[in-house]
C-alpha cells in the first residue's frame, strides 16, 4: 500500500486526515457548488451579492420553469439524446467488428490499419473541419442530427477500435481455436463466443461515448446551425449570449446539461473508470 494506510498512523494524523478530506472536497467543488446554489436563487439575491449565504427564496423550480418555457431547452435536451444514443450504438457496434478483425486474425495490413485508427483518433478537429463540413453539406445533411451522428460514429470508431481490439486480444486464444476445430464458422465465433465475453468492454465504451458525445461542442457548432437540431452544449452557448446577467437561469440550464452524464457516471462508475484508465496499470 502506498501511502501507508492512515489507520497505522498516530491518532492525531487520523483525525486530521478525516477532517481534511471533507474540507478539501468542499474547496475542490466550489465552482459546482456555486452554480447549484445560484440555480435556486432569485434575481434579488444575485443583485445583492448574496451568492454563498442562505437563499432568501427557494426558486429552483420556478427558474427551471422559466428556462423550459422561454427557451428551446427541452428541444436541446431531446436533440442531445437523439445525437448521443445512435452514436453510442453505432460506434460500439462497428468497433466490436473492427476490434475482432484486428485482434483475432493475422494479415499483412493488420498493424497498419490498427495504427491508422489510433492516429486518426488523436488528430486535431480543425484539420477535419472544412472537408467534413463540405461533405456533410454535399450529402444534404448539413444542419441535421443525422449528419452530426454520422461523423461522430466515424470518429469515435477510432478510439473504440483501439479499446475493443486490445480487449479481445487479451481473451484466451485457445477458446477460438477450440471452436474452429469443432467446425464453428468465423461469424459464429464472433457472435457466440466473442460478443458475450466483450460485454464489460461494451459497457465501458458505451458510457464513455455517451459522455464524450453529450459534451461535444465543437462539432455541434460546425455541423449544426438551427435550434431545431442543436444539442444542449451549443444551446447553452447561445443562451449564454442572451442572458447576460441572468445567472440564476444560466445556472439552471447548466445543471440540466450536466445531469445526464453525471447520472451515467454514477450508474456505471466501475465501467467508466475502467474504460478511461485502460493502460494506466500495465506497460
Amino acid at each position: 500500500m502506498f501511502p501507508i494506510p492512515i489507520q497505522k498512523r498516530p491518532l492525531i494524523n487520523q483525525i486530521s486526515y478525516r477532517v481534511l478530506i471533507p474540507i478539501s472536497l468542499l474547496i475542490w467543488l466550489i465552482p459546482l457548488i456555486g452554480i447549484m446554489l445560484t440555480s435556486i436563487r432569485g434575481l434579488g439575491d444575485i443583485a445583492q451579492g448574496n451568492l454563498w449565504g442562505v437563499p432568501s427564496e427557494f426558486l429552483l423550480f420556478s427558474n427551471l420553469k422559466d428556462v423550459f418555457q422561454n427557451t428551446p431547452m427541452l428541444s436541446y435536451i431531446m436533440n442531445s439524446f437523439k445525437i448521443t444514443i445512435p452514436t453510442m450504438i453505432g460506434a460500439v457496434a462497428l468497433s466490436c467488428m473492427t476490434g475482432f478483425a484486428l485482434a483475432s486474425y493475422r494479415f499483412k495490413a493488420n498493424l497498419f490499419i490498427f495504427f491508422t485508427f489510433i492516429a486518426g483518433n488523436f488528430v486535431p478537429f480543425q484539420i477535419l473541419m472544412i472537408p467534413v463540413r463540405d461533405l456533410t453539406y454535399q450529402m444534404g445533411l448539413y444542419d441535421t442530427v443525422t449528419g452530426l451522428v454520422l461523423f461522430h460514429v466515424a470518429f469515435q470508431t477510432g478510439f473504440c477500435t483501439l479499446f475493443m481490439r486490445n480487449f479481445i486480444k487479451a481473451l484466451p486464444n485457445e477458446l477460438f481455436e477450440a471452436a474452429r476445430i469443432d467446425g464453428t464458422s468465423e461469424f459464429n465465433i464472433f457472435l457466440k463466443i466473442v460478443l458475450p465475453l466483450t460485454r464489460p468492454a461494451i459497457a465501458a465504451l458505451s458510457v464513455l461515448i455517451f459522455t464524450f458525445i453529450w459534451n461535444d461542442f465543437f462539432w455541434a457548432t460546425v455541423l449544426i446551425q438551427g435550434h431545431h437540431a442543436m444539442p444542449i452544449t451549443a444551446g447553452l452557448k447561445s443562451l449564454n449570449g442572451q442572458w447576460i446577467s441572468a445567472y440564476h437561469l444560466l445556472s439552471a440550464g447548466s445543471i440540466m446539461a450536466a445531469i445526464p452524464p453525471v447520472i451515467m457516471f454514477f450508474l456505471m462508475q466501475k465501467h467508466f473508470i475502467a474504460g478511461l484508465t485502460l493502460g494506466a496499470s500495465k506497460g
Partner: protein, 305 residues
C-alpha cells in the same frame, strides 16, 4: 437440379477455404470505410485546401504556399501560437497535481469511494458548463471581483485583462484535467506491486526516497497516459476559449484551434485556404505526439508478438 447443388457446394467450399482470409475484411469493412471517408481523407483534403484561395462557394484558386507565407506575417497567428505554448506548459501542472491528489485520496476510510467520485466530477461535466461557471466567477459582477472589492483590493476582471486573460482560461481548463490525471494515478496506485514496496520499506526506504525509487517507476504507465491525454487536451482548447472570451480581448486569448475556426467559419470571413493552413500547423505539432505514442505502442506490440 444436381447442377445447382453442385454450385452451392462449390461456393461453400470456396468459402470454407478462404473464410479465414476474408472474414477480417468483412468485419473491418463498414468501420474502416466510414473512418477513411470522415477522418483520413479529410486530413489530406485539408492539406490540399491549404494551398488554395477559397471562400467555400466560388471556384478555388491554386495559390501554392502563399497562405503559409501570409501566416509568417500574421500577428494573430503568433499570439495564438504563443498561447498554445502557454496552454501546453501550464496544462502539464495537471499531471503532478493529479498525482498529489491521488496519493492524498488513496486510503481506505469510510465513504472514500464516494469522495473519489466527487473529486472526479469536473471531468464528467461538459467543458461548456465549466467555461460558463468560470466566466461567471471571473465576471466583475460575478464572484471573484466583488470578493476582492469587499476585502479592499478593488474589483478586477481577469478576462478583460489582455495580459492575463489566457491564464484565467487555462486555470478553468486545467480543473477537469486534474481530475482526469487523478483517476489515472488512482488506478496506478491500486495496482502497485506490494512486495516491492514492502521490500523497499525493509531496506529502510521511506518518504520521498521510497516514492522516487520504488513508487514512481511503477507508476510509469499512468504517467505516460497522463502526459499523452494532457498534451492532447491542451491542444484541444477550443471549447473553453469559445465560451469564455471568443479569443478576445483583442485576440489576446486566441489559440490556433479557435483562430482557425474564426478565420474559416465566422463573420471575419470564410477564408477556407488560410484556415486550413492554420489547421495544418496545429496538425503538424500534434503529429509529433501521435508518432511518439504510436512508436511506443509499436514497441509494446513487438514485445507481445
Amino acid at each position: 437440379m444436381p447442377s445447382s447443388t453442385q454450385i452451392s457446394y462449390r461456393k461453400s467450399s470456396w468459402w470454407k477455404l478462404n473464410q479465414q482470409r476474408l472474414t477480417p475484411w468483412i468485419f473491418l469493412f463498414p468501420g474502416l470505410v466510414l473512418f477513411l471517408v470522415y477522418v483520413i481523407w479529410p486530413i489530406f483534403n485539408s492539406l490540399y485546401i491549404s494551398l488554395l484561395q477559397w471562400d467555400g462557394l466560388s471556384p478555388a484558386i491554386y495559390v501554392g504556399f502563399s497562405n503559409y507565407i501570409e501566416l509568417l506575417d500574421d500577428e494573430y497567428f503568433y499570439i495564438s501560437l504563443i498561447n498554445n505554448i502557454k496552454w501546453l506548459i501550464f496544462f502539464m501542472l495537471a499531471v503532478p497535481i493529479g498525482l498529489g491528489l491521488a496519493i492524498f485520496l488513496n486510503q481506505t476510510i469510510f465513504g472514500i469511494r464516494l469522495i473519489k467520485s466527487l473529486f472526479f466530477f469536473p471531468f464528467v461535466i461538459s467543458q461548456v458548463v465549466i467555461g460558463i461557471i468560470f466566466a461567471w466567477f471571473y465576471n466583475p459582477r460575478g464572484v471573484i471581483g466583488p470578493f476582492l472589492e469587499t476585502i479592499g483590493l478593488g474589483n478586477y476582471a481577469i478576462l478583460a485583462d489582455e495580459d492575463f486573460a489566457t491564464y484565467g482560461i487555462i486555470f478553468a481548463g486545467i480543473y477537469p484535467q486534474i481530475a482526469y490525471c487523478m483517476i489515472l494515478y488512482l488506478t496506478g496506485l491500486n495496482n502497485l506491486n506490494t512486495d516491492q514496496i514492502e521490500a523497499g520499506r525493509m531496506d529502510g526506504a521511506k518518504g520521498f526516497s521510497l516514492f522516487k525509487n520504488i513508487i514512481l517507476p511503477q507508476l510509469r504507465p499512468a504517467t505516460f497516459l497522463a502526459i499523452v491525454v494532457t498534451v492532447i487536451g491542451s491542444l484541444r482548447s477550443f471549447d473553453m476559449v469559445a465560451i469564455m472570451t471568443q479569443g478576445g480581448p483583442w485576440g489576446s486569448t486566441n489559440v490556433l484551434a479557435y483562430y482557425m475556426f474564426e478565420t474559416a467559419l465566422s463573420e471575419y470571413g470564410y477564408r477556407m485556404g488560410y484556415g486550413s493552413a492554420i489547421a495544418a500547423v496545429l496538425f503538424t505539432i500534434m503529429m509529433f505526439y501521435i508518432l511518439f505514442f504510436i512508436y511506443r505502442m509499436y514497441q509494446s506490440e513487438k514485445k507481445g508478438l
